[in-house]
């Protein structure tokens, strides 16, 4: 790697060599896996959730969604917390911390009672974990005293957070469920219980596909299926939204957030960071592609920093957060009309079809030349720009001010990938 930039960050008082962590999931459930992940370059690992409860898993347990031949748009997982003995998991964590002292070991735990949470927190301390994450959010538990059902109950979140933070001084992170309207409520409840940070999001309750062969959801388990957690690229927009809402909340704005949801590339990770997250967690992309994806996350992030003159992550963390504002606050005084580059246009007519059927009939079609031409109906919605398959063919053009509105200097996005 010829590029070299400082990716280190202090997260909840722990020095991390980079912000890229594995989230608590099948990708970090034993010694060998975590060791391999560390060696591949991950800064830390949230070890697969450990409870007193030992899971009894179904088969098969995964499914995925695709669009236009592109698989893994989203991923469904029915696996619960670790199915290994509790003691063995903590022993693994202890050995990993011993063998990889510079890497961060975060123990994710889940109890079903005050006593269980306290007992698990004690074991985390004995194992030498750097961080403890409380799993208040797994949507596929076979017990309703655990997981997402707890995460939507602020009283239980506070109580269980307190059970951990009263037991140990290790910083405690509460992992949130997105299956709720206002995540701020359980997040505030966790802080009230002594949590130092919040991680979001866990998976979204889903039915990915219906199998017509068995008339059941996927995956089909003996002719049946269950609602369970959806993750991967498809959920990233939802995750970013929750992260921004948490970080903008008055009582949470100083809380350190770990962003989770659909991260596959350095770019995805950087999006969470510019909203204000100080750590990111990944599972689905690792399940699809393996631990090696961290290589391009690190290298790509360094190149991004190099291009923009950042020397450390703190230089850009949170930069985009103030620019997420309520809809009523947007400047609605102008329309940016699209500009058509006739030389680049290949004459496919997709802009014409979409503008007519999905927007404002603002494009006329020259049948002979096979070229679009903008007419006066255009409102500057940019649907055409979004459907055009040619890079740089349709771009933001003339700024038209609505009648009677004051012209001002405005910021415009000019470059589209």
């Amino acid at each position: 790697m010829s590029i070299n930039k400082d990716l280190s960050i202090r997260y909840l008082g722990i020095d991390c060599e980079n912000p890229f962590f594995l989230s608590s999931s099948p990708v970090g459930g034993n010694y060998e896996m975590v060791a391999k992940a560390y060696e591949a370059g991950w800064g830390g690992v949230f070890y697969k959730t450990v409870g007193v409860f030992v899971a009894d898993e179904c088969s098969p347990r995964f499914d995925q969604t695709s669009k236009e031949g592109l698989p893994w748009l989203g991923f469904k997982n029915m696996e619960q917390i670790s199915d290994k003995p509790t003691e063995q998991n903590f022993e693994n964590m202890m050995k990993l911390k011993r063998d990889y002292p510079d890497k961060v070991m975060a123990a994710t735990i889940m109890g079903s009672s005050d006593e269980e949470w306290r007992a698990l927190a004690k074991m985390c301390e004995q194992a030498g974990a750097d961080l403890i994450e409380g799993n208040f959010s797994c949507p596929q538990m076979t017990s309703h005293a655990m997981g997402a059902d707890v995460g939507t109950n602020p009283e239980l979140v506070t109580a269980y957070s307190r059970a951990v933070t009263e037991t140990t001084k290790i910083p405690f992170v509460a992992k949130m469920t997105p299956n709720i309207t206002n995540m701020e409520i359980p997040a505030v409840a966790a802080i009230k219980g002594g949590a130092a940070g919040v991680s979001a999001i866990n998976t979204v309750k889903s039915i990915t596909n219906i199998d017509f062969e068995n008339m059941a959801g996927m995956p089909v388990v003996d002719g049946k299926s269950s609602i369970s957690g959806y993750s991967g690229a498809a959920v990233k927009p939802i995750a970013l939204r929750f992260a921004a809402q948490l970080l903008q909340h008055e009582e949470l704005k100083d809380v350190e957030i770990s962003g989770i949801g659909g991260i596959e590339t350095w770019r995805d990770a950087a999006e969470f960071l510019v909203l204000g997250c100080r750590n990111v967690q990944v599972t689905t992309a690792v399940m699809q592609y393996g631990y090696r994806i961290v290589e391009d996350m690190k290298s790509g992030m360094m190149h991004f920093m190099d291009e923009r003159g950042y020397s450390k992550l703190e230089d850009f963390i949170g930069l985009a957060l103030p620019n997420m504002i309520p809809a009523e606050g947007l400047n609605r005084d102008f329309q940016i009309l699209p500009d058509f580059n006739v030389k680049k246009c290949i004459g496919c007519g997709r802009c014409y079809v979409s503008c007519y059927d999905g927007a404002h009939q603002a494009i006329d079609w020259d049948e002979k030349k096979r070229k679009p031409k903008l007419n006066d109906n255009c409102v500057g919605c940019h649907l055409c720009l979004n459907v055009c398959p040619v890079q740089g063919c349709i771009t933001p053009g003339e700024v038209k001010w609505k009648e009677g509105r004051q012209k001002t200097g405005i910021k415009i996005k000019r470059n589209y990938d």
Binding site: G69, L70, G347, C348, W365, P389
Partner: protein, 427 residues
């Protein structure tokens, strides 16, 4: 060392799509407005529609779109020069490379077989009027299918034992597997078209004595062309028609030697060379009298030949064939008047165009000076009830052109029969 592909005579020249790869390719399609690809097909195939069906997970609908329009949809998917037709028109050429329309068509037609679909149906109530089609090649099959779909009763007379004409006897099976031709032909049969095999019209049958209300002649061109040069009657000298037919019918039992020269610059020449190579000849070369730029063959076919280790020599015309009773050497003269070469060869194949057999034996309609049938664009000949199309009219074209000619002639025949008002007979 170069990597030359080894293949069997009957192994397919290219992979087809599976469901996932077809979806990937369909996803590349821009789904154009007023799609240019759909205007590029002589047979009127609508790729934009069938690709959209694949994209929106309706492969059966895609199969219907193809089959309803082109009775030889499976064959055309394999042998069409798509690079000069629909794929050349593809808007995606403006970004990178065209959608592989031929291969998507192949995938869609394969769904018909996979799902045992029966797409075409002939009306239960037959129309008055019986039509004879001469030959079971592409033009005749297309004409017969159109007529049967409209409700006419059609009989196809074929001199060989199987349907397909040149598709069955004149194309290398790696490019067009027999099963694909058979499946297409089976669709014609399923419309109620009667086939009389082993009947050569003019020799075995006299159509003028039979009560057909109209006749379509899609007899093709089955006379091989041998140049008028010394030695052209030696053993080991073949016309392309005979060479390919021997290969298709005898397969590995066809013995023609180890060193083979194919003369010609069209797809047929490439087919002959590929056939010779795949049937075991070590040394196969194509010799063409002009340059590759001038060659009528599809460049992708020459590239395929090259991938099998078959080279092409240009600007060399055959001058003399030497040997006692059997070919030993072929002598060529350069186009520049200075160059020349003498090649030791066991066999030489002349793929230098086909000529007509005596077509007037079929029906006494007017022929042109080359012996091809004189017919207009609608397939009308000098005799009112006789129509014609395909190679016997155009002197040798593509399969898709023959399909077009057969369809056009069917439309003319239907118009003729309706105008003539053949009495409705009770079925």
């Amino acid at each position: 060392m170069s990597k030359v592909t080894k293949a069997k005579y009957t192994s397919e020249a290219s992979f087809g799509f599976m469901h996932r790869t077809a979806m990937e390719e369909a996803a590349r399609c821009l789904l154009c407005y007023d799609a240019p690809c759909s205007k590029g097909c002589p047979a009127g195939t609508d790729p934009a529609k069938f690709i959209r069906s694949i994209r929106f997970r309706n492969p059966k609908g895609a199969a219907e779109t193809i089959r309803e329009n082109n009775i030889l949809g499976g064959t055309c998917a394999r042998v069409c020069p798509t690079g000069d037709l629909c794929e050349e028109a593809c808007s995606r050429c403006g970004i990178d490379r065209p959608i592989e329309i031929g291969k998507l068509q192949r995938y869609a037609v394969e769904q018909e077989k996979t799902f045992k679909m029966k797409i075409l149906k002939a009306p239960a109530k037959k129309k008055a009027g019986k039509v004879a089609c001469v030959g079971a090649g592409p033009a005749s099959l297309a004409c017969a299918a159109e007529l049967a779909k409209t409700g006419y009763r059609v009989t196809v007379f074929e001199k060989e034992k199987k349907a397909g004409g040149m598709l069955t006897y004149g194309i290398a099976p790696g490019r067009l597997p027999q099963a694909v031709v058979d499946h297409d032909a089976a669709q014609v049969k399923s419309l109620g078209v009667k086939f009389e095999f082993g009947k050569k019209v003019g020799d075995d049958i006299d159509l003028t004595e039979m009560d057909f209300d109209a006749v379509f002649i899609g007899a093709g061109l089955w006379g091989g062309n041998l140049p008028d040069i010394p030695g052209n009657s030696l053993a080991g000298v073949y016309t392309a028609v005979d060479f390919l037919k021997n290969a298709r019918t005898m397969k590995e039992a066809f013995k023609f030697g180890n060193k083979v020269v194919v003369v010609g610059g069209g797809d047929v020449a490439v087919d002959c060379a590929v056939t010779a190579k795949l049937l075991g000849a070590d040394d196969v070369r194509i010799v063409y009298r002009r340059t590759l730029e001038e060659a009528p063959g599809n460049m992708s076919e020459f590239q395929y030949a090259l991938s099998l280790g078959i080279g092409t020599t240009t600007n060399m015309a055959p001058a003399e064939l030497l040997g006692e009773s059997k070919l030993e050497y072929a002598v060529f003269n350069g186009r520049d008047g200075k160059s020349g070469m003498k090649i030791s060869a066991d066999a030489i194949v002349f793929a230098t165009g086909q000529k007509a057999e005596d077509l007037s034996k079929i029906m006494p309609m007017a022929l042109n000076e080359k012996g091809w049938i004189k017919a207009d664009a609608a397939g009308k000949t000098s005799i009112e009830k006789v129509f014609a199309g395909g190679d016997a009219v155009n002197g040798g074209g593509t399969v898709v052109e023959a399909v077009r000619a057969g369809k056009d002639a069917a439309a003319s025949i239907i118009a003729y029969l309706e105008k003539r008002g053949v009495k409705q007979d009770v079925n």
